[in-house]
């Protein structure tokens, strides 16, 4: 029996280890997967793709539809109208990335917009949750907050700049 592939899904406290192995196919053309979440017992799910961006899952007798949009970090998964933005990582890659970026962190935009104000300067000490930059999008100003305690290592944008989604704005040490 194959051992399956391990993925780390989600981030922080909500991170789960999900192991997937392909068992075979169902008579109706679905794919049978064995799925193990953290240390729970393995469950079998039947998955098909009626269209490229939808995964229909029959799991413990229930039918679920998951809409999939691939992102830089993993997948945006929509189930009954609720969005889950999930990081999906190979544990080895994750370990590597942690080692590379140990002790540093960065703040990215969620959406395209314009930099209205930068509230900190390089070298400033910040605490997690402290507003550090104001970005305008769709005629609304949004205050973005520091993701960690630390110091401002570099500010990558200037006031008035137009930025794309997922642009690094500020790096912290």
């Amino acid at each position: 029996m194959s051992k399956g592939t391990v993925y780390l899904v989600g981030s922080g406290d909500a991170e789960r280890s999900v192991t997937v192995r392909r068992i075979g196919e169902t008579a109706a053309g679905g794919v049978r997967y064995g799925v193990t979440i953290d240390d729970q017992p393995e469950v079998e799910v039947d998955a098909v793709r009626p269209v490229a961006d939808v995964l229909s899952i029959v799991h413990q007798g229930r039918s679920w539809e998951a809409g999939l949009v691939e992102t830089d970090e993993g997948f945006e998964v929509e189930v009954v109208g609720i969005r889950h933005e999930l990081d999906v990582m190979d544990p080895r890659k994750k370990a590597l990335r942690m080692a590379e970026g140990a002790g540093s962190s960065s703040l990215k935009t969620q959406m395209p917009g314009r930099i209205v104000r930068v509230l900190v300067a390089e070298g400033d000490a910040v605490v997690e949750g402290q507003p550090v930059i104001v970005v305008e999008a769709m005629k609304m100003e949004n205050e973005l907050k520091s993701p960690c305690d630390g110091t401002v290592d570099s500010i990558c944008v200037a006031e008035g700049d137009q930025v794309q989604a997922r642009t690094v704005l500020i790096e912290f040490q």
């Binding site: 592939t5 993925y7 899904v9 989600g10 909500a14 789960r16 999900v18 192991t19 997937v20 392909r22 997967y33 799925v35 979440i37 799910v45 998955a47 961006d53 939808v54 995964l55 899952i57 799991h59 679920w64 998951a66 809409g67 999939l68 949009v69 691939e70 993993g74 997948f75 945006e76 998964v77 929509e78 189930v79 009954v80 109208g81 609720i82 969005r83 889950h84 999930l86 999906v88 969620q110 959406m111 395209p112 917009g113 999008a137 769709m138 609304m140 949004n142 989604a165």
Partner: protein
């Protein structure tokens, strides 16, 4: 004026599509206009002709009178429908359209102007016998004057900064002995916030609901009402959910309110479709707020319960036809609810969520209507309003309408951007909404702060993400040998 033969829609998004549909049903040709950001928008794809009118910012395209009139001239359009927003309540634009010899599908510039100014419309309505919120906009000269006025109005009263906004310089006063100190506090707050310490007084309306009446008037002297819409579910003064009938309105108050709405429209010689907005107090008294001299976003719920197509009525009236109905012909049948679907992220502090709609499936089934301006693959741009669609549902009664709306919300799929569909499911299940006893204060910070994480859903989402990654990774590695052997690959070498 004859019926228009070709209508140019000076708008974009769902409302442009809505007007195009009405025109096509009447056998009238249509022209869309579009900015740099909208070449592939649904309204452009829906219309028979389309004209580019400028850059993405609306001030350089949808708001430029000359560009819109040029587009009408080049395409030979003989009428202009402004939709809502943009130029719809711009009296100067209405005048230019008429002066260019085109049919303006809207009220006269004079009516737009009369209702456009809050103070002028208030005075005019008061003279026409329409109830307005008791009080004056005159600054208070002294604490003694404030006390006398408060006693005359009856407690509680509100003190408000003349230059005000955002709750600054505003005080509710419940007892006469508190007036002097409240006035001093409001004045000092007004001075420091706005550099102007003028404060006025008006009656405080308890438990206010926002209830509005749809009116329709033709050029033959007929003015009718199409009953009310309750728009009390608001966030930052933006309507979120609307329903009709208003669940707490008695027949008696309904008929008074509708009569007053007709009187308000008549007072400005109103022609076309318009909406008279009222504040309805918990005590059943209601007061004129303002009149919107255009089609409203929430007009479909009125169409659902009356069976009257308001956009087609607007076009016929603009073409000089009589409404052709009497007041008795218009009945409220059943109940309708509208949810405004916004590109915004409830899980991320309600931040706007522009981007490409990667997956999109609208709900269907009996008595479900979706007025949308988007499609799968459409980009929701930063330049315009984040409302992407309206879900409008009819039921034989309120209970059925709520249950059907819940069902339709469950079917609605929007992927790639965040929307508020899941929030509506929570809102429509809220006991205070279900009971019908809510007011404009309904959407508290608490109600806006999201919902508990559903463990089942998040587990299913994790499973789906892992399987998707597994299938992606498999397809990256497995077909590699096959790809090498393909003749296509050979030919590239």
């Amino acid at each position: 004026m004859p019926l228009p033969a070709k209508i140019l829609i000076a708008n974009r998004g769902e409302i442009a599509v809505r007007v195009i549909r009405a025109a096509h049903e009447m056998g009238i040709k249509t022209v869309a206009v579009y900015s740099d950001a909208d070449r592939d928008a649904l309204h452009v794809r829906s219309a028979m002709q389309a004209v580019h009118i400028g850059a993405a910012p609306s001030a350089e395209s949808y708001l430029v009178t000359e560009r819109v009139l040029e587009a009408a001239a080049t395409t030979g359009a003989d009428a202009i429908h402004p939709g809502y927003g943009f130029l719809s309540e711009n009296a100067g634009f209405a005048r230019s359209v008429t002066e260019a010899g085109l049919i303006w599908i809207g009220p006269s510039p004079e009516a737009i102007e009369a209702m456009g100014s809050k103070t002028e419309s208030r005075d005019r309505m008061a003279r026409a016998g329409v109830p307005v919120v008791p009080g004056t906009k005159e600054p208070l000269a002294s604490a003694e004057e404030a006390e006398a006025k408060a006693i005359e109005l009856g407690f509680p009263v509100m003190l408000k900064a003349s230059a005000g906004g955002g709750g600054k310089g505003m005080r509710q006063v419940d007892r006469v002995e508190d007036i002097a100190s409240a006035l001093a506090a409001a004045k000092s707050e007004a001075a420091s916030s706005f550099g102007d310490d003028s404060v006025y007084i008006e009656k405080r309306i308890i438990g206010p609901r926002h209830v509005e009446v749809q009116v329709l008037a033709d050029t033959h002297g007929t003015t009718l009402h199409l009953f009310e819409r309750d728009c009390s579910v608001q966030r930052r003064n933006q309507k979120v959910v609307e329903e009709t009938p208003c669940p707490v309105l008695t027949d008696d108050i309904r008929s008074q309110m509708c009569d007053v709405a007709i009187a308000a429209a008549r007072a400005v010689d109103y022609v076309g479709a318009g909406t008279v907005e009222f504040l309805l107090g918990a005590d059943g008294n209601f007061y004129f707020l303002e009149m919107n001299t255009r089609l409203q976003v929430e007009h479909p719920i009125t169409e659902m319960v009356t069976g009257i197509d308001l956009v087609q009525a607007q076009i016929r009236i603009a073409g000089g036809e009589p409404i052709g109905l009497t007041q008795d012909d218009i009945k409220q049948h059943g109940h309708a609810i509208e949810c405004r679907i916004y590109a915004e992220d409830p899980a991320n502090n309600w931040a706007p969520s522009p981007g490409v709609i990667r997956g999109y499936r609208e709900p269907g089934g009996p008595w479900v209507r979706v007025d949308a301006g988007v499609y799968q693959g459409a980009e929701v741009s930063l330049f315009y309003d984040p409302m992407v669609a309206k879900l409008v549902v009819w039921g034989v009664n309120r209970d059925e309408a709520i249950r059907r709306t819940q069902r339709a919300l469950l079917e609605y799929r929007v992927r790639g951007i965040a929307t508020n569909t899941a929030f509506f499911r929570q809102l429509l299940a809220d006991p205070d909404f279900v009971s019908g006893h809510y007011d404009t204060g309904f959407l508290t910070a608490d109600r806006m702060s999201g919902w508990p994480e559903d463990e089942d859903l998040s587990e299913v989402a994790s499973i789906a993400a892992a399987i998707a990654a597994f299938e992606r990774d498999g397809s990256l590695t497995r077909p590699a040998s096959a790809a090498k052997a393909s003749p296509w690959r050979w030919s590239l070498r």
